[in-house]
Structures are given as C-alpha cells and as structure tokens.
C-alpha cells in the first residue's frame, strides 16, 4: 500500500508540447467544412437570385409593358417598319434594365453596400448575368415573333434586335468610367438608337449578312471589354458609377 502511495507521489504528468496541440488543432480545422457561419447563405445561385430580385421590382413590370407594346405594335401599326421598331424597343429595354442597376448606386448607399458580403460589384455582376439573360431570352422570342409576321430573315432581325442591346450597355459602362453625369445616360439612349439603326441598315444595304453578324459579334466583344474595364475601375474607386 505504502509503495503504491510513493509511486503515485513521484508520478508526474508528462508535459504536452504546446506546438503539438496547436498543430493538431490546425490540422483538424482543415477538415472542418469551410462555411463561414450558419447565419449566412452559402449557395451562390440562391444568393444571386436573392440579390437580383430583392428591392424594387418595378423594372420587371416596365419590361413586361414594353414587351406587350411591342407585340401589339408589330402586329398592328408598324409592320413595314418592324426593323426600326425592334431596334428602338431593344434599346428601350436596355434603358429599363440599367435603371434597375442604378437604383443601387444613385443614393450614395454604396458605402454600406460595399462592406457587405455581396459587394456592389457582385450585385452588379449577378444582375447583369441574370437579368441580362432574361432579357436576351425575351428579345429572342420577340425576334422570333417578328420573323413570323414579317418578310425579313431571322438573322437580320436578330442583328437589329441585339446590336443596340450590347452597344448601349457597352457604351454606358465604358463612358461612365470617364464621365459622371446623368445626361450621359439619356444621351446614350438616344444616340444608340440612331447609331445602331443607321449602322446596321447601312451594312445591310451593302447586302452582306456576314457583315451585320460581324458587327453584332464585335458589339458583344466590346460589351465584355467595357464591363471588365468598369469592374476594375470600381475595385479602385469604390462606388463610382454614373453619379455618386
């Protein structure tokens, strides 16, 4: 019995090295799921949808209204001027679309928005992706509709429909890097309408569909380029958009 007691007295707990525990904890941490917190939404798709459709949705209504006007318009009034009409409607839709983006930035809310997990840039990106896609699908169906009602071929109609869409987007994002003004917005809307119609119809007059398609593609490239440029600028300057 005494022997036992003595043994127990002499026994010292082996010291565990601090670094060993720390490295073990770190190792465990790498196996834990990477989610930041269960308060936060993790699914990117859900996030994108939530952001796109939160806040004011009046633009959806406007877009629908414009489509309805288009459907009736092309059927009744301006059948023989369908191409001009589709150009006009296309840039009008872009106008509405951009208005929905601008709602975010026009009141100087960017300062709190930039500290959010989903920063202003991401909001813009999500919106461009989702709403832009919606828009393109809509435009595609409208073009299809026009195709059945008018004698023009489908590619021509697509060119007239999509060219102003990309051009006005691209111009707006590109120019707003350099100028901060509200008039720019309106100016671009009017100019794009005229420019795109003149451009496409002049190329069309040379009677080359290939040329029309080429300028459509170049407008898409320009669109991607200006958005990229705009995002870089936004990173640097914070909430800069048309005005703040």
């Amino acid at each position: 019995m005494n022997n036992w007691k003595r043994k127990l007295k002499d026994y010292t707990v082996p010291e565990v090295k601090r670094e060993k525990i720390e490295s073990l904890v770190e190792l465990c941490a790498t196996y834990l799921p990477k989610t930041i917190d269960d308060r936060f939404e993790i699914s990117k798709v859900k996030q994108a949808l939530m952001v796109t459709f939160s806040g004011k949705k009046s633009w959806l209504l406007l877009e629908l209204l414009v489509s309805v006007i288009f459907l009736f318009g092309i059927y009744h009034i301006v059948k023989d001027q369908a191409l001009f009409f589709i150009t006009f409607i296309s840039s009008l839709m872009t106008f509405i679309l951009i208005l929905s983006f601008l709602q975010n930035i026009s009141y100087g809310t960017w300062e709190i928005e930039k500290t959010c997990m989903i920063s202003t840039e991401k909001v813009l990106l999500y919106k461009i992706m989702i709403i832009g896609l919606l828009h393109m699908v809509l435009l595609f169906f409208l073009s299809l509709y026009t195709f059945f009602l008018t004698p023009y071929d489908f590619v021509t109609i697509l060119c007239y429909g999509f060219f102003p869409f990309f051009l006005s987007f691209a111009l707006l994002f590109h120019l707003s890097i350099y100028f901060h003004s509200k008039m720019l917005f309106l100016g671009i809307f009017i100019c794009v309408n005229i420019i795109s119609f003149l451009l496409i119809s002049s190329f069309h007059a040379i009677s080359s569909i290939a040329l029309s398609v080429a300028i459509l593609i170049s407008s898409i490239v320009y669109f991607l380029f200006s958005i990229h440029k705009y995002f870089i600028k936004m990173e640097e300057e914070g909430g800069c958009l048309l005005w703040n």
């Binding site: 308060r39 936060f40 939530m50 100087g108 300062e111």
Partner: protein, 288 residues
C-alpha cells in the same frame, strides 16, 4: 480577437490623410476623437476595407484582411458618416434588402430584424417609407443596418449626429451593451457621448494617432493642467494666451476655466475631464 493596423497610410494626391497609423484594437469600445479633417473617416474606411490603403496592412487575428476577404466582411458592421438609404424603401423592406446583401439567410434575417427594430425603437415605423423618417430615426435605422449580421467588429462614424438627448442616452446604453465582446470603434466630436462608456480613447490629429490609452490614464496625464480662477474684467487679456475652456463674464469679475502647462498663480486646480483633454490636444485655434 484582435485587429492590428500596421503603418496604415492613405495619400490623396499630395495630401496625407492618414499617416502611418500603427495600433492594436481589442474588444471593447474605442472612441476616436479628432478635429474636422484629421482623417477619422479615412482611417475607418480603410478598416472596413472600402478604400485601399496607399501602404500598410491590417491583420485580423493575425491574418491579413486582403486574404480573408469575405470571412472578414461577415464580421463587419459599418455605419458611415454620410449615411445613404433608398428613400422609397420601407424600413422593413430596406432591412431585408441589406440582410440579403450581407448574405444572411432569410430565417436568420427575420429574427435579427425583429430584435433590432425593437432595440432601436423603430417598431412602429416598420411599414413606413424611409423618406418619412426624421433625422434621428434615420440615424437609428442606420445603426440597425450596421448590426444586422451580428458583427464582431463594429465601426461607427459619427453615429450620434442628430440624436436628441433621450435617444443619445438610449444609444449610449445600446453601444455599451454590445461592446463587451466586440471591437467597437466610434468616431465623434461630441465628448459627452463617449465619457463613461469608452474603454479606450484614441486621439487623431493630422492623420496620426497622437494618443491611445484608457481614459483614466489620459486624464491622469492632464492632472495639474486645468485651472479655474476669477479675475477682474479688465485683467482677462493677460490670460488670453492660455486655452480658455469656459468663461463666465460677470459685472466686475470673470470666471475662467483654463488649460495651461505651467502653473498659474492664484488659480485653483480642477479635476480634468474628457472635454479638457480634447481641447488640450486641439488648442491651436482648431475648430471642433
């Protein structure tokens, strides 16, 4: 939990707005005092990562915030000096909108919004448009937005501007109740807003932090520099060289409350308060 700033600098053209600020922030309420244009807003904006520093880094628990990105942002709550909120949104709608941007789940957002609207006393304004709120209510909504994600780092840039005395008191209680386990930085000109509740005080001047310590320590340094005396009216000119905190002109005599590094004959010593401290540092004719 710790926030380290390392030689943080921001330069606008030739203007050095923030000049090599190095400090460590710990949980508790840190008050940031400074005159207009001393660089408070610029410093806070860099801490919440909405502007990039010209040079220097910020470390959150030893990790560079540039690398943490989203992980850092989900711990941040920020209330800017010039608070912008969409006037046509309803209060609740705006809170949900911000919750979405903060990446919160809808179920969690609902709980938080109910709790915070109660805390900032805006429950009955829930379904009103933001443009119908008064200035003080607007400010309180800003505080609610800032606390939505239950942040660990709370940055408030002059949050008390425009609040009435009662709301000021409510605000003080709210801030001191949340600041135990959070890093709270509050910038202000109004010294009485942070007296009694600040754990540390940081004084900023021309872009640098000139002192950063517990209020007791800072006040201790001020001891022996605050004087009170009553002099005949025509004798006041002799004391204009000192910083006069307060003067009360009577019919024949004037009561003066002064700050001075050297001893003033015939004056009684006063116990310094934070107001004296602020004026001591910004005595050179600077507005506040």
């Amino acid at each position: 939990m710790e926030l380290n700033l390392n030689k943080l600098t921001k330069q606008y053209g030739s203007k050095l707005a923030v000049d090599r600020v190095t400090l460590t922030l710990q949980p508790g309420l840190t008050a940031l005092l400074g005159a207009n244009g001393s660089g408070k807003t610029t410093l806070l904006r860099m801490i919440v990562d909405i502007i990039k520093p010209t040079s220097g880094e910020i470390f959150y628990d030893g990790k560079n915030i540039m690398k943490l990105k989203e992980q850092y942002l989900c711990d941040i709550g920020y209330m800017p000096q010039h608070l912008g909120m969409y006037p046509n949104f309803k209060v609740e709608e705006f809170l949900y909108y911000m919750a979405t941007l903060k990446g919160l789940k809808k179920s969690y957002a609902k709980i938080q919004i109910d709790k915070l609207l109660h805390k900032v006393n805006l429950e009955e304004k829930r379904h009103h448009k933001i443009k119908t709120l008064s200035g003080g209510m607007y400010q309180r909504l800003g505080i609610a937005v800032c606390l939505l994600n239950d942040p660990k780092i709370v940055i408030l840039d002059e949050p008390t501007a425009g609040l009435d005395p009662k709301e000021r008191m409510n605000f003080k209680n709210l801030i001191s109740s949340i600041s135990q386990d959070k890093i709270v930085i509050l910038s202000t000109h109004i010294v009485s807003d942070i007296s009694e509740i600040a754990d540390r005080i940081m004084i900023m001047k021309d872009g640098s932090i000139i002192s950063y310590d517990r209020p007791e320590v800072l006040l201790k340094e001020m001891e022996g520099k605050v004087y009170a005396l009553t002099v005949p009216n025509d004798n006041v000119v002799n004391y204009e060289k000192y910083t006069i905190v307060n003067r009360k002109v009577g019919r024949e005599e004037t009561y003066l409350h002064l700050l001075s590094d050297e001893k003033i004959e015939g004056a009684t010593l006063l116990t310094p308060d934070l107001n004296d401290l602020y004026l001591y540092h910004f005595k050179d004719g600077e507005e506040f």
